[in-house]
């Protein structure tokens, strides 16, 4: 590849100026103080499971300023959902979790809306509820959340509805390779354990917000803080309300963090706007965000590994029971895609059964890593357990089993762009693996290191389109449909366009966030924007260059293929010292083919041909993912054995990003992932009491603060570049991989420090103390009189 001039450079974020001056607009900032705007508020179920006997809205309707009070009667009769149509926008007969939506009020002031909400009288018949996924999964579980499940419509991957072992199970995903029984027979060592992960919340700082405006022509314009103008907003509102896409325009502004959350304030804003014919704004409180965000799916993981004496993995069996909460939402896909992580090792015999189970808890969904961080919590601890039992170095054990470039992985895909080995080496070296810790252990504070390796795939079955407009002043507009959720996509995409066109990045303007104005895209999901939208933009740039050459051809007296457009100039390929500015194509009165005010417009689309969902029975296929981003984390922790507190002293990550389009932005993603990783490992858990979230505020929920993270000298993020042949300039997505190995890395370090292995998340002081106590007892027994 020739020298790159913009790709690989630390271009300052295009949105930085707006954000540091407080002028960046977010959905929550739309319509501030706007007269005529109605304010929507939602009444949530106080019960985890109940039948609605009656709803009396008569007093609520009389509150001055109230324009509408809507209940289950006012929503379409058909159930809706992402994967399974199992939900009414507002409950019609039953509520299934604390936080199920029961009524919506729209009023001229927030105060009036709140007053009316308090006056709605709902009579419930409380029903028995189930909160534990393993209990709910039993075929004879007395509580059945969705007796009509078998008749519900499935919107994607219908085969996930086959072979369901109980009435509350909505998803069963299988992967089969080789023969695990045979594999375990060959094994010299078998390790088997149960792990669990907690329900955690995205805690993006912008509360869920939306403004819905009915247009006089019957179009609904909806802006929202939930990402994806096409798939997240337009398609969803169309499906929920039975509207054609031409009638729904999805808009996003800057988004104040996302990490996979989908709180959908826009559904309630849309409902109220449609029923009142007036613009409606809905902003969730922080408390509401906690139970409506679609938290990270908690899993119980039964893992069994078989391995040869020399460390060769021969069999892995994994069973996952996923507590999806009251509605399936996107969890069937989270469960399916969570299986891809296991592809990093060569395992000839593999069996995966993952179950999605309904319980009366707040529904789950996607969270940075999309189902991959949870299995890694178990798998990467097992690698350390195995290494210890075999007296092998855990780095070496992993290196030995890593799949190689070109090798077929356990899903049947050909491995490509495999930077995992380098990631492992980098973090092991920086943390000083095998060398003394940065500070010695004392009697009560134990210091040790640990690491883990993980990955995150990018989904293959999506599509991106882009338009590129070359203006006569030399500026270029790039139109695409993905989102700016903070990751810096606008900057990266501008760099890709600038590189391809050979123009300075300052001349690129990126336009996104409006389904009426930008081309189709799946949005900022699955770490896909750089690769998919980047490729679409590259193609659009190539298209516009072709158009420039074709337009210049008669003017310059050369065939289009003998010309080259680069950096705002058109060159003769045979004589690059002779050129003409592209802007001359617009000059009036010249022998030009363009009218004065014309524009040069290029179009590009990117998607994978020949991908598949995989065989429904075995999960095997040749093209199931677009790419894999590998991340290794190494940590040094200090464990206070008296308080159970864990302090992360040093942290190192290495991420294989294919090619860093903007290294600082990649580093920033890595650092953010580490903080979330530490949070998920040590502090974060939505505490539930019979389905009610107890700690739904930033005071009681343990999102890490500045003082809980290692200082800047004790933090290092490496980027590894195993170029991907299909990525733009070799780049792959990397945002989610950034947190997938953190929790097992910390668990491994805690074990190395204390000899205590924690298998449940988070590794809170209480849990650690309990485990230490149990260990002491055991040690006491062992060292007792013989």
């Amino acid at each position: 590849m020739s020298e790159l001039s913009v790709v690989g450079k630390n271009v300052i974020r295009l949105d930085a100026l707006e954000k540091v001056t407080g002028t960046a607009l977010y959905a929550a900032d739309e319509a501030l103080g706007e007269p005529g705007m109605l304010h929507g508020k939602v009444l949530w179920s106080p019960h985890a499971h109940a039948r609605i006997i009656s709803i009396d809205i008569s007093r609520a309707k009389k509150v001055p300023g109230v324009e509408a009070v809507l209940t289950g009667k006012d929503v379409p009769e058909a159930r809706v959902g992402s994967c399974v149509d199992d939900q009414h926008m507002l409950a019609r007969e039953k509520v299934r979790f604390v936080g199920d939506a029961v009524a919506v009020v729209a009023a001229r002031t927030l105060e009036a809306a709140e007053e009316a909400l308090a006056l709605i009288k709902v009579k419930y018949e409380v029903l028995p509820a189930v909160f534990d996924a393993e209990e709910a999964m039993r075929p004879d579980c007395p509580v059945v959340l969705h007796p009509g499940l078998s008749g519900y419509k499935r919107n994607m991957y219908p085969y996930l509805g086959n072979d369901l072992p109980g009435p509350n199970v909505h998803t069963h995903h299988k992967v089969r390779r080789g023969n695990v029984e045979e594999g375990f027979r060959q094994a010299d060592l078998i390790v088997e354990n149960r792990f669990s992960t907690a329900r955690i919340s995205h805690c993006q700082l912008e509360p869920a917000s939306s403004v819905a405006r009915p247009n006089v022509d019957g179009t609904l314009v909806i802006s929202t803080s939930t990402k994806s103008v096409y798939t997240g907003v337009q398609a969803e509102v169309c499906r929920f309300f039975g509207l054609p896409p031409s009638k729904v325009r999805g808009v996003t502004h800057y988004i104040g963090g996302n990490f996979g959350s989908a709180p959908r304030a826009h559904i309630f804003a849309a409902l109220a706007a449609i029923r009142t014919g007036r613009p409606v704004k809905v902003v969730f409180s922080r408390e509401e965000c906690f139970f409506r965000d679609l938290n990270r799916l908690p899993m119980v993981i039964y893992l069994k590994d078989g391995v040869k004496k020399d460390g060769t993995l021969v069999a892995r069996q994994i069973k996952l029971i996923c507590n999806c909460g009251a509605y399936a939402q996107i969890t069937p896909l989270v469960i399916r895609n969570g299986s891809f992580g296991s592809s990093q090792y060569r395992i000839p015999n593999f069996r995966w059964d993952a179950y999605g189970v309904y319980t009366n808890e707040p529904p789950s969904g996607a969270f940075r890593g999309f189902g991959n961080a949870q299995p890694f919590w178990a798998m990467e601890q097992h690698m350390d357990i195995i290494a210890e039992k075999l007296r092998m170095d855990p780095v070496e054990l992993r290196q030995k089993n890593l799949i190689a470039e070109g090798e077929e992985n356990l899903r049947g895909e050909k491995t490509h762009s495999m930077g995992a080995a380098e990631c492992l080496d980098k973090v092991a070296q920086w943390i000083g693996w095998g060398r003394p810790t940065s500070q010695p252990s004392s009697n009560t504070v134990k210091v040790a290191k640990g690491f883990a390796l993980a990955n995150k795939y990018t989904q293959v079955d999506t599509i991106a389109s882009a338009l590129v407009r070359f203006n006569k002043d030399g500026f270029v507009d790039v139109f695409h449909g993905s989102d700016e959720i903070g990751q810096g996509s606008q900057t990266v995409l501008a760099q890709i366009a600038a590189e391809e066109l050979g123009v300075p990045v300052e001349k690129i303007k990126v336009i996104w966030g409006d389904s009426a104005r930008v081309p189709y895209d799946h949005g900022a999901i699955s770490s896909r924007t750089t690769m998919f939208v980047g490729n679409a933009i590259r193609a659009a740039c190539q298209d516009v260059k072709r158009l420039i050459c074709a337009t210049a051809s008669p003017v310059m007296g050369a065939a289009p293929e003998d010309l080259e457009a680069r950096g705002g100039q058109i060159y003769f390929r045979s004589n690059p010292s002779k050129s003409m500015p592209v802007s001359d194509l617009f000059l009036p009165g010249r022998a030009t083919c363009l009218p004065h005010d014309a524009e040069l417009l290029g179009q590009g689309t990117f998607f994978y041909k020949g991908y598949s969902d995989g065989d429904p029975e075995t999960g095997q296929g040749t093209r199931l993912t677009a790419s894999y981003c590998y991340t290794a984390h190494a940590v040094e922790v200090a464990v206070d054995t008296e308080t159970g507190e864990v302090k992360v002293l040093r942290f190192c990550s290495a991420t294989d990003v294919g090619r860093a389009i903007n290294p600082k932005l990649c580093e920033a993603q890595s650092e953010g992932g580490i903080a979330q990783g530490i949070g998920s490992a040590l502090y974060e858990e939505m505490l539930l009491d019979r389905g009610r979230v107890l700690n739904c505020n930033f005071h009681d929920y343990g999102m890490p603060r500045m003082t809980e993270l290692p200082g800047n000298h004790d933090l290092k993020c490496f980027l590894v570049e195993a170029n991907h042949r299909e990525g733009p300039f070799g780049a792959k997505g990397m945002g989610e991989g950034a947190m997938t190995p953190s929790a097992p890395a910390i668990a491994n370090a805690i074990y190395n420090a204390t000899g205590v292995r924690l298998m449940d998340l988070p590794m809170s002081p209480e849990r650690l103390l309990r485990a230490l106590k149990a260990q002491n007892k055991e040690a006491g027994h062992k060292s007792g009189p013989l």
């Binding site: 300052i12 407080g22 977010y26 929550a28 900032d29 105060e111 700082l205 920033a668």
Partner: protein, 160 residues
């Protein structure tokens, strides 16, 4: 009943009629359209709503608008450097990639301003300690701390 409140916002004398329970954050946003003051928790736990009240960083979601009577408020929209351009903190946040989604950014910058006013040459630990009341979910804080340290150095250079 709404009460008349006069206050100085970003150097301009302003007047507003506010309900006694309205927070300063709400009034800045809804009545003055100053959307740079963010509300992320509304319970005083995150610092996104930080403004300078008579020069000191406060959480405007916790302060009643009527209590700001006669006082000087600076929001992110009113922050300026000596030359009237960007403040060195704003500059440093841009240059050091301390901004991601940007929702915590105004509060972070104003908290840092207040911190540097009191302690122009803080250590990294002092920055972390002094700003630990401000939550950021995106950055992991490393680049924010780096930006504050860089701005502090630059501002001291300016004063010399």
């Amino acid at each position: 009943m709404k009460q008349r409140v006069t206050l100085n916002i970003n150097g301009t004398e302003e007047e507003v009629y506010a309900e006694p329970w309205w927070s300063l954050a709400q009034v800045l946003r809804e009545e003055f359209g100053l959307g740079g003051t963010k509300i992320a928790c509304n319970t005083g736990d995150c610092g996104a709503c930080t403004v300078l009240l008579d020069g000191k960083a406060v959480r405007s979601c916790l302060i009643l608008a009527v209590k700001a009577q006669g006082r000087k408020v600076v929001t992110i929209e009113g922050l300026r450097g000596k030359d009237g351009g960007l403040h060195p903190l704003q500059q440093a946040f841009m240059e050091h990639f301390a901004v991601q989604c940007g929702y915590c950014t105004p509060g972070m910058i104003l908290t840092a301003k207040s911190l540097l006013d009191e302690n122009p040459a803080p250590t990294e630990e002092e920055v972390r300690e002094g700003m630990s009341g401000n939550l950021c979910r995106c950055t992991g804080y490393a680049k924010i701390v780096e930006a504050v340290m860089a701005a502090s150095a630059r501002m001291r250079g300016e004063h010399r």
